[in-house]
């Protein structure tokens, strides 16, 4: 089972090695092996949305970062608003602080198992857990069509923002998942995740500035 460490600008100093390791592995895979993104000089893959407002979850097993996620309020520039706003013809472009844009979910190839009980399902549960705690109402973004089925198979209600289109050879769409306790429960049942996966170390940054977090033991 992974531990999903929540990393923001406030506690990033605690995760320097892990953070760099993950960006390097992503760069090797996306840029060097598959040429999907430009090769960068420092060997790290960063994009315009790696800003101080981004929240990362690093999925750690042993001492390795095996998967990740990046969330950004849709009230700020994000991948959908800047590159795919035309793919939201069903619901319009979301621009709300409680609707999160979800990117950067990737599993290291050697950790890609088969089946619902794999690392990817665990990361899905960690993202849902984080969204419930932070009072986020919807989370989603641009994704491949086959991943939409994985979300639905978790028992999640997913709103398609628009119709699928072919992006770089793959059928992709923009879609958002409804966040709630039931979704967390059904997702855990499907992915065989027995309980919480989030780890919060050091100072935290609330996802929504104005909303109180629903963190267990953080009543004050």
């Amino acid at each position: 089972m992974i531990e999903a460490h929540v990393v923001t600008i406030r506690n990033k100093h605690l995760y320097e090695r892990e953070f760099e390791e993950f960006l390097r592995r992503r760069h090797e895979y996306y840029a060097v092996t598959n040429r999907w993104v430009p090769i960068s000089d420092d060997g790290l893959e960063l994009d315009p949305f790696d800003t101080p407002q981004a929240t990362y979850m690093l999925g750690i097993m042993g001492d390795r970062v095996v998967t990740s996620a990046r969330l950004m309020p849709t009230s700020l520039p994000n991948l959908v608003s800047e590159e795919f706003p035309h793919m939201c013809e069903n619901i319009g472009l979301p621009q709300r602080e409680d609707w999160a844009d979800w990117t950067r979910t990737y599993v290291l190839p050697e950790y890609r198992g088969v089946g619902s009980t794999g690392i990817l399902g665990q990361m899905f549960c960690a993202v849902m857990e984080y969204c419930v705690e932070e009072g986020i109402s919807h989370v989603g973004g641009v994704l491949q069509q086959y991943l939409l089925k994985r979300w639905l198979d978790m028992g999640w209600n997913v709103i398609p923002a628009g119709l699928p289109r072919i992006l770089s050879g793959d059928w992709c769409l923009v879609a958002y998942i409804e966040v709630n306790e039931m979704a967390l429960e059904s997702g855990r049942a499907h992915a065989s995740v027995p309980g919480p996966l989030l780890v919060r170390r050091g100072e935290q940054l609330p996802f929504i500035e104005s909303a109180p977090r629903r963190l267990a033991g953080a009543a004050l």
């Binding site: 088969v114 069509q145 086959y146 089925k149 639905l152 198979d153 398609p160 119709l163 059928w171 769409l173």
Partner: protein
């Protein structure tokens, strides 16, 4: 947004609300009829020597076509099915790679499909909940012309419908019971009668009997008919008494 698109998003909004899988499929077929489809199937694809019959999740293909497809093991020479194994992306049946369409038996499968009202179609590869390579395939009597947007629309409906169907089926695991006719066929088979013998006894075609025996093996997850008899007794589908009676008929 066109009226077509609106119908697709409305279908997705109500996909979880149907009382049964049957009403969901009625609804799906109604919406896709706007794209020229009249039939659909959602099935896993057979690996190795396995029969496709055990992998079907929902089936609205014409019954006589499907019995022929299963009995003739057409999946092996069906160019559309074989292409999905290689390229996991949706395509219109008539756009299947030329070299695959030229493979042994492929033209016969396509020709017979057309005779059964499946002249053309569109196949959407999917991974089932348990990660099995599956397809939702739609067919109709005429050539299918789909714009990229329409393809996206059918893909989207297939993804939602397939996930809803699987979640429903896993909540109410379907323990397939044999029909009365299947039980009858199984008992005659256990008594040593051939498919031809049984077709004469029951006054139906031999092909129909072959279809029944394939269904029986599929429902009982049995590798051959002897195995099927054992499983049927284990599961209470037939009794030893019935078996003794049918064996008695041999005498």
């Amino acid at each position: 947004m066109s009226g077509h698109d609106a119908a697709v998003f409305e279908f997705i909004e109500r996909v979880e609300t149907h009382a049964s899988i049957d009403t969901l499929l009625d609804d799906l077929l109604e919406v896709v009829s706007g794209f020229g489809f009249q039939h659909m199937i959602y099935t896993g694809l057979p690996a190795g020597d396995a029969s496709i019959a055990t992998l079907v999740k929902t089936n609205r293909f014409p019954e006589d076509w499907w019995s022929r497809y299963v009995e003739g093991d057409y999946a092996r020479s069906d160019a559309v099915c074989q292409q999905v194994f290689d390229k996991i992306e949706p395509f219109v049946w008539s756009e299947v790679d030329a070299e695959r369409a030229a493979m042994d038996g492929a033209a016969r499968v396509a020709g017979e499909a057309a005779e059964h009202g499946l002249a053309d179609g569109y196949v959407v590869p999917l991974f089932s909940r348990d990660e099995w390579l599956s397809v939702m395939s739609f067919g109709g009597p005429d050539k299918i012309l789909l714009s990229p947007r329409e393809r996206g629309a059918v893909n989207l409906m297939a993804v939602y419908a397939s996930s809803t169907i699987e979640r429903r089926q896993s909540r109410h695991p379907r323990r397939a019971r044999l029909t009365g006719r299947e039980r009858e066929v199984l008992l005659w088979t256990a008594a040593g009668k051939s498919c031809w013998d049984i077709s004469v006894i029951l006054n139906v075609s031999e092909q129909t009997i072959r279809f029944h025996t394939a269904q029986i093996r599929a429902k009982l997850n049995a590798s051959n008919i002897t195995h099927a008899v054992v499983r049927a007794i284990q599961q209470g589908e037939i009794t030893l008494g019935q078996l003794a009676d049918s064996l008695g008929d041999m005498g």
